[in-house]
Structure formats: C-alpha cells, structure tokens
C-alpha cells in the first residue's frame, strides 16, 4: 500500500479499486447496529484544517472515529496556527504528539507534499488550493459505480471552473486510471493553459456533450470570478454553462447529476436539478464517510 494520499495519481487501477471495494464493505457496516470497527484503536488521526470546510472535516472525523482512532482536530482558528506558526513547526509538533496520520486541508497547492517531507506519519490530502482533492474523486467514483454499476467506459462530463478546481484535477486523474472517458466543459477562460496534456477531452459547449453523458458533474463557480473577467456576468455564465431542467432533459435516461458541494444554487445548477432523482448530491456526502474510512484503513492498516 502507498504511504500517503497526496494526489489521485498516487493510485493505480488496482489500488483505487481496492479502496472502492473496501469502501463498499465499510458502507455495509454503517447499516449494522454497532457501527464501529476496532481497526485503528490506539492510533491518532489529526485533522489539520487551514481552510474552513466543516463538511470535509466532519466526514474525515466520522470516518476515523468509526475505525476507533483517536481524533484530534487542529483547526486554524483558535490554535497556534492562527498566531503565525509555520507549517513546518506545526508538523514538528504533530510529529512529537505521535500522529499516525495527518489529514490536511490547505489553501496553498502542494502544502500536503511539503508536510509529507516533515513528518513520519501518513499524510492525506483533504484538498490543497487549486491542486487536488483525491478523496473527493474517490467518493465520486464510488458514487458513479454504485449508481451505474461500472466506471470503465463511462462518459463523464465535468462542467465549470476547471481552472481553479481541485475536484476536477483529481477526478480527471482517477477516472482516467479507472477507464472512464472525461470531457471538461467550460468557457475557455476557465480551462487552464496546458489542459491539452490532461487525459481528457475539452469542449466549450455543454449542450453538445449532454446527449452522450452518463455522468454530469457540476463544479462550483464563484461569482467573484466575474470581477477577474473570467466571464461577463453570472447570468451569462448560467445561461451558457448552468444545468437547468431543460438541459437535464437532453441527458440519457440513466444519466446522473453530481456536485461536490457546496452548491451555488441558481448559478451552476438550478434547485430543480439539484433536488431531482438524478441528483446524487446527498449520496455523495454519505459515501464520503465510507470512502474516507477505506482510505484511512488501508493507509494505516498495514502499519498496525
């Protein structure tokens, strides 16, 4: 097993499939009376969150606790982190505390890579800047597999602010590894220069992609991007790239609609679509816990 999960590229097809299979076992466990496993008893998992993300932190916390790990939440607010302690000094502190795993969320791309140089324990990237969010990609893949029965050969459309999206980067890498075909749809301003090297197709036109899509994943688009001239107005963005009921009807019958959250309802997705039966948004949250349990179990299990 790999030691850290910093990028979705750390996972080959076999390892990724093992994570998804393990997550399925963890999900079955959630239906039982006693939801806890003793697997990580006596192990310490630190949630080191430099960015507010209650949703992701709670998901990792629940995952670690269901595996009986000791969980320490180390958030930027109200700790030495906010007093300007460097990441390296924090890392040395966590090292001294005997952290077996550090789950890190950070606004700077690559912060988990830096952390992995400074501590002996396992580092799990819970989202770094505009780089990656590998457990999100795993839970998305898990959700697609649960709903559609497979990943190989699926047509997955990822729509929106690809340039700034860590979810998009991790999904492209993981879905490619698992044999799905990814198309990125965005205005040209929100696709990175250099996207041609990614294992994905690109398109500027949502309507032409929808009829062949098995999955449509809508990315969050911040209205403030308008001020940096990425698009003229929120309204024009919604008109060209938002998913509304009319567009949803262009999808094949079986196709699903995903969103990593938090949503800008009315911007990239209309409430009717978000709340429709095609939407997996609530499932994604539940699957997040199972997938993160699998990740912690597999990364830490080998060292018990």
């Amino acid at each position: 097993m790999i030691r850290h999960l910093l990028s979705a590229a750390d996972l080959d097809a076999g390892t990724a499939t093992m994570v998804l299979d393990t997550a399925a076992e963890m999900a079955a466990l959630a239906d039982r009376e006693v939801k806890k496993l003793p697997t990580l008893r006596g192990r310490t998992v630190v949630n080191l969150f430099y960015e507010d993300s209650t949703r992701t932190r709670i998901s990792f916390e629940a995952a670690a606790k269901r595996l009986s790990a000791d969980v320490i939440n180390f958030s930027a607010k109200g700790s030495s982190v906010s007093k300007g302690e460097s990441l390296k000094d924090t890392a040395l502190t966590l090292q001294a505390m005997g952290a077996d795993a550090v789950v890190i969320r950070h606004s700077a791309s690559g912060a988990p890579h830096r952390l992995a140089n400074w501590i002996d324990g396992t580092v799990v990237n819970a989202g770094d800047g505009t780089h990656e969010h590998p457990t999100q990609a795993l839970l998305d893949a898990y959700t697609m597999r649960s709903r559609l029965g497979r990943l190989a050969g699926l047509n997955v459309a990822i729509v929106g602010d690809v340039l700034h999206s860590r979810v998009a980067r991790s999904n492209v890498l993981l879905l490619h590894t698992l044999g799905a075909k990814v198309t990125l749809i965005a205005p040209p301003t929100l696709l990175p220069v250099g996207v041609d090297a990614w294992p994905a197709e690109t398109s500027y036109h949502l309507d032409s992609v929808l009829p062949d899509a098995d999955v449509v994943m809508m990315l969050r688009v911040q209205r403030e991007r308008m001020d940096q001239a990425y698009f003229p107005s929120a309204r024009e963005y919604s008109r060209r790239y938002g998913l509304d009921v009319a567009r949803m009807r262009r999808l094949p019958e079986h196709a699903i609609v995903m969103h990593p959250g938090p949503m800008n309802r009315g911007m990239e997705i209309t409430p009717e679509v978000a709340d429709s039966p095609r939407s997996t948004i609530v499932e994604q949250v539940a699957n997040g816990v199972s997938v993160r349990m699998a990740v912690l179990y597999l990364l830490l299990g080998g060292k018990a």
């Binding site: 990441l87 390296k88 700077a108 791309s109 890579h113 770094d128 505009t130 860590r166 980067r169 220069v193």
Partner: protein, 427 residues
Amino acid sequence: MTTYVIKGARILGGQKKDLLIRDGVVAEIGTGLSAAGAQVVDADGLVALPGLVDLHTHLREPGREDAETVETGSRSAALGGYTAVCAMANTSPVADTAGVVEQVWRLGREAGLVDVQPIGAVTVGLAGEQLAELGAMADSAARVRIFSDDGNCVADPRLMRRALEYVKAFDGVVAQHAEEPRLTSGAQMHEGEVAARLGMTGWPAVAEESIIARDVLLAEHVGARLHVCHVSTAGSVEILRWAKGRGIRVTAEVTPHHLLLTDERATSYDPVFKVNPPLRTATDVAALRAALVEGVIDIVATDHAPHAVEDKECEWAYARPGMLGLETALSIVLDVVGDELGWDGIAERMSRTPARIAGLTGHGLEPAAGAPANLTLVDPAARWTVDPAGLASRSRNTPYAAMTLPGRVVATFLHGEPTVLDGKAVK
C-alpha cells in the same frame, strides 16, 4: 602592498604564462618571472579570466541582514570569481536616494572583497509612481549609472519612457524587470502544462514579452539605452533579435538558473525552485542557451537572491522568489555552454560586456601589462559538489544542492590583492 607572481596561468585558456602583480596592476606578463619578496601563486594549468562582473545581485543590506549582508554577499561573489557586483535597489529602505546608495557603496568598500556598485531605484520606493532622484544618485560618491526597480516592473509606459530619456543626461541605463503586473497577479510559476497539473497560478511568457516589446520601442523612440533583466522565454529572444537588428540600443541578461533548470522542478513543491521570472520550459532553456552563444543575449547575470530559511521552508505560495547564484554561476555556464562559448566567450559574457554596460572601467579588462589586476583563476578540470551549508552566503537557498558541477575558482584578485586563494576566501 604585496607583490605576487602567478606561475603558469593560461590567460583565456592560451599558453602558460607568469603574471607579476604589483601595486594593483599587472606589471608584467612573461615566462620565468620572479621578483624579490614576491609571493608565488602556483597556477599551473589554471585559466586566468578577467574578474567576473555581475550586473544583478541582491545583497539585502540594508534591511534583511539575516538573509545576506554586503560582506557575506561580497565573499560569495569573490568565491565565484567576481571582482565587481551591481547591488540591486530593492533593499529596506529602498536605494532610491543618494544616502542609501552611498551607504551600500561604503559597506562594499569596507568589506573589500569585491567592488560593489550600487544600482539606484527608478521610482520612489519602487512604487512605480514617481521618479526617484536619479541625478542625485548619479552625482553621489556611488556614481550610479544603472537604475532598476527590479522585483517590480516599471509598468507605466509613460514613466518608463521618461526614465529612459532622463538618464541619458549621465549616460545611465534603465534595467527593466519585464513583467506586466496585470498578467501575473497571484502568479506562482510558469503558465503551462506543469502549472496546470500542479494547480498553481501561471506566470505567462507574454507578461515578459509584451513589456520587452514595448520597452525596445520606447528606447528606440527616445534614443536611449535599455537593459533587460533575466530574460526567460524563447519569445523574448525573438523580440531582442528583432530590436538589435533594427539598431535599438538594448542589452539583455540571462541567469544561470534559466539556462539550466525547467518548470518541471516545481513538481516537488519545494520553493527553492520558486523564482521570478519563473523557471520555464525545456524549449525556452534551449533558446536562451542559443541566444547567449549567438550574442542576442549579451551577458550572464546571477540574480543572486538570498532568502532566510523561514522564507523558503514553507508552502510554495508563501515562499519568496529567488535563488542563490554567485558561487555557482561560472560552473553552470561552463556546464551548459562552456564548449560553445570557449574561454574568450565566457570572459565576454561574464566580465567584459557587463563591465561595459555598468560603466565599470577598471573591470572587464584582459590580464595584460598595465591593466588593473582584477582577475580570477579557474581550474577547468575540477568538479565539485554543491553543499548548501558550505556556501559563503548567509542563506542556503541554492537550487543546485548535491549537483556536481565543472570548474572551480581557485583564486580571485581584486586591485592586485587576493580575495580568494586555494579556493578559500582570504577574509
């Protein structure tokens, strides 16, 4: 003053000769030279070059003496074979008055390891709004001739035009850090495939190229001299070639790191590879090497940029840009274009031409009878491995750690006295 006899040195790689050094000048060149009481320096097989001249050095004093001082930077320079360095103005306070440039100049004299020629800021506080008192700096004891807001671009075209025009009065030159700031907001590294993969905000090549294109046209329009700092892209080379072909008075520098390293280094997220302008692609590196050999790029300048440990041992986005360069520059140049340039070409790109651009008349001169004894002796056969802790700089941010490089500076003479002997600084 001590008299020295340097035995068996090959001037620019030529035949072995002895050099008699007395009273700050090369008194005689010949064979079998000796002089009563002279100290003999065994230079058998070493190559003698005119002392190197760096047009782009950050010495950090005043303001960040924890990262570098004029003295420690001067020592680094001497060990790298330099006898003169031009100290950039982005200190704290900024070198935008006669008082600050004279302070830096005086600190250089006191250290006595290299001639420190201060560069003056173009605008007050490097803010890009109002011209600094360029004439007062030119008339000061520091005799400033190069003006630069380096670190920042003089982005306002009207201000740039005026600066280029104004310094003609004292044969000055504006050294431009070419970076259109509206195109590099939040930029972390070269905009391209690697940045896209790493999720880092890109610094597009066009942000450099558009400023160079504008500035050469401005220089032409007002008949002024322009120097372009740290050229980093293949497109910039094309613009410079065009401008020179038109007879525009533009000179340009390239750094050792842009001649060797690419943006792939950022994959480690180790900010020791963070620099401004950023490391570019292999295509750019190849174009820069060819341009240096061809002469479209005139000189190598280090952009030696020391940074304290805490400014590099952190997240990439929070790290300061810049790399050490003085102690490794000659070896990098030998490594990447040594064969194409030859020793004469290296002397041209690293000593004569930078001395001419800077107006340093005592530097960049061939070791010849009567010439000021500013020279360096290089062992061309030696190879050495870069150890950050072994560098004389106060900082450790070299991107070449653990690399084995060719060529080693054995001795450096400044005004007839050694600053380096046996590869070690004498003080």
